[in-house]
Symmetry: C2
DNA sequence: GTCTTGTTTAACAAAAATGTCAAACAATAT
DNA sequence: ATATTGTTTGACATTTTTGTTAAACAAGAC
């Protein structure tokens, strides 16, 4: 009777839409991207977008959660492994360098969207398959065994994320001001950071033999 | 004849508009903010916005350049001074912590806008009253005298900016995941970073006695 | 007073984007 | 062949936002 769920007779329209939407949304932001833009990028009629994903919000939600459920695991994965601390750092930096190389607009896009609409977070954090509290405790232990005492590991995380993300978040600005807008030089810089960032962290942790955060040596 | 340019009979409408527009634009982004939103925030009629600033683009431009010509000098100022290196770092971090505390949406706003519309940069970089190349050369020298050889100072800058900005750029996300959404705890964390970031940089530079960036020790 | 000038407002026009609908189309089943 | 099902399209309706215009208003000049 029924043509038994032919699923794939829609050639690859849905895939094309998802690809195009991902690209356009990341580049222009949720508000900057029009349905027409996306349809053009996908090479299809705009009405088809509505046929496949009722409306813009639903299309965006699909893209956004899809994206994050891809990015988050990658992020925690590096830290969840049982390799030695500095190894984790190195893997994390390298993994992210690759991810960002292919999706340079991702960080600004994600943070802008979350800052605009924090509620979205609730439905997404589920996708993080790791207990953050547990992970932090683990980090603390590892740091202690490295001789770093009394330092909240979240500072390390913030430092690391900041150092890794900044060159992408601030690229247009930073490249123009500090590299005279030399794209090639900047790409080399990005490549160098795979080595520089872990080294920087390593140095910072090697040298920190002093106690908790109350000592201060201001003039 | 003419009532000699009474400038100030417009009570403080223009100021109110600029304030409101700054706030709303930063919070919602250029595209997310409607003229009505801004008028509401300022407590005036929407048409007045057009009376004072012809159209949305002009209003936005005014805000954006005003904002950046306020932020950039603050940024370079810390580095242009002739204090010792670590002192500069400390001043920079502290200055920015204060600025960001009052304008938490600023980084995402600025970077999103620049990434969306890089052309705006051209007209703005003029406001940087410092030659970046010169500043970088200066930094290199200072680092050398600290015993750090062969390291591109731009890595330090990127590290520093990243570490300072990330807790604001990623706040919604980071606070939720790593602080169980405890706002107070996060604010304390932000406060702590004024001390932690310079210390981290200090440690990293103290310990870096090895040579330039060509040695690599991968597995 | 009334004239002039600049400010503010409401009503309207125009533009841009989203969303809906019914008809055309392709492919397979009967 | 035609009926059925899912896909694609163009035309239309709705909504949202921006921009314009003309009239009301306030205040000082004369």
């Amino acid at each position: 009777m029924q043509p038994e769920k032919l699923e794939n007779l829609e050639p690859d329209t849905e895939r094309k839409i998802l690809e195009a939407a991902g690209k356009v949304f990341m580049q222009k932001g949720r508000l900057g991207a029009s349905m027409q833009d996306i349809a053009d990028e996908a090479g299809i009629n705009r009405t088809l977008l509505h046929y496949y994903f009722r409306n813009k919000e639903k299309l965006f939600d699909t893209i956004f959660t899809k994206l994050l459920s891809q990015v988050f695991p990658t992020m925690v994965e590096a830290f969840a492994s049982d390799r030695p601390f500095m190894e984790k750092i190195r893997i994390f930096v390298e993994t992210y360098a690759d991810l960002l190389k292919e999706n340079p607009y991702l960080p600004v896009f994600v943070f802008q969207e979350i800052s605009l609409n924090p509620d979205r977070l609730a439905g997404i954090i589920k996708h993080v398959g790791v207990d953050p509290d547990l992970a932090l405790k683990g980090l603390t232990k590892e740091m202690e065994s490295l001789g770093v005492h009394g330092m909240d590991p979240r500072h390390i995380i913030a430092n690391l994320l900041g150092m890794v993300l900044f060159p992408y978040i601030g690229r247009a600005l930073f490249q123009k001001i500090a590299f005279q807008d030399d794209t090639e030089a900047y790409e080399k810089f990005l490549e160098d950071r795979k080595e520089q960032v872990p080294r920087f962290v390593n140095m910072a942790l090697q040298g920190s033999g002093q106690g908790p955060g109350q000592s201060r040596k201001h003039p």
